[in-house]
Symmetry: C2
Subunit: 214 residues, 2 copies
């Protein structure tokens, strides 16, 4: 029974995520979610008490997406900077393709309209990136003068700004190409060695757009 309740919760979180992603928090009602999911409003209230709790469950499902991705990348044998770049592409694809992540991102943007505090992703990402940059430092891969803690902030700012700007300019259609271009600039600051195109290729970045200088 416990397992079945978990499956129902997950099913409702995904149905709610579709609507929150399309219409936002204020534009979505429990009866919309009932219509989309084919469950009664009573069943939804049984699992989530109210719309706010359901929105928080979507945000928590988004935050819960990352630890497994991070663990998988960290377990690989690649150098730390390559792990960092590879992780960034995996996360960017999730923001583009995973409806729960997209909904969590929109709800976080609209967090001031939600009565309960909405947990944000930044502190955890800053820690993850700092740790990968410390590993890169230990591998002698960082340029002289790069401080992992400070550089991690710059990487996190640029990554989240990329999402905001890409969403506004083209609905994230060109997110992978833009992320590649961003790394070409950031790696000029971060890396001791200059073979950025080779690192980007190994980390799963798309090839440069035709006509773009490498």
């Amino acid at each position: 029974m416990q397992e079945r309740a978990e499956a129902t919760r997950r099913f409702l979180v995904e149905a709610a995520a579709q609507l929150f992603e399309e219409r936002g928090y204020a534009g979505t009602s429990i009866s919309d979610i009932s219509a989309r999911s084919g469950r009664t409003s009573g069943a939804i209230y049984f699992h989530f008490t109210n719309k706010e709790k359901l929105a928080l469950a979507v945000v928590e499902a988004t935050l819960a997406t990352w630890p497994a991705l991070i663990a998988r990348v960290r377990a690989s044998q690649a150098p730390a900077l390559e792990k960092l770049v590879s992780l960034s592409f995996t996360v960017a694809r999730a923001f583009r393709d995973d409806v729960v992540v997209r909904a969590g991102s929109r709800l976080w943007m609209e967090r001031k309209a939600i009565a309960a505090p909405v947990p944000g992703p930044f502190t955890a990402w800053i820690e993850t990136v700092t740790q990968l940059l410390r590993d890169a430092e230990a591998e002698d891969e960082l340029a002289a003068g790069v401080v992992p803690e400070t550089a991690a902030l710059a990487v996190v700012y640029a990554f989240f700004g990329l999402h905001t700007v890409s969403d506004a300019l083209d609905g994230r259609a060109r997110i992978e190409e833009r992320l590649r271009e961003l790394w070409e600039v950031l790696l000029m600051a971060l890396r001791a060695a200059p073979d950025t195109p080779a690192l980007l290729a190994r980390a799963g970045a798309p090839a440069p757009a035709a006509g773009t200088p490498a």
Copy 2:
């Protein structure tokens, strides 16, 4: 009479901005704005037709803040990279201190809840930064391999991400210190010459926080 109508519009835009900044678009009504401004709802509707038009007027007032700041910075005799850094601090202070800019920024975040299209700032900022980096290139101040168009995107992503993250972590209290640290990283990628602390001081950045590596 024309001048007086303009003054009244500006007064109402500022009163509305205070409320949009505190409560967001959905949380603010014309009668709230009437109470805050001491004008009747009828007078507000005479100038703006509806809440949506008033919100768009706040966003337009925000966007109208930048051209004069940009022109002033561009008219100075400083090298182009110093102009860019200086402009970024001026804009960051406006985001922290100017209620119209803060409200415009919040309304833009909430744009999907507003029926009319809300104009965004990114295309204009990308053009401004690209032009300053082209000037820096002409002054031989860019590192080999830096492409102004691509680097401008990285700068704009990082700058807007800085605002999002700073707002989430500490309500923008440490925005100037964080912006200084961001430039320390970005300038390692962009600059041909390595005297970043001197450039930052000339551009009006705050001194490094005590205990922070320069």
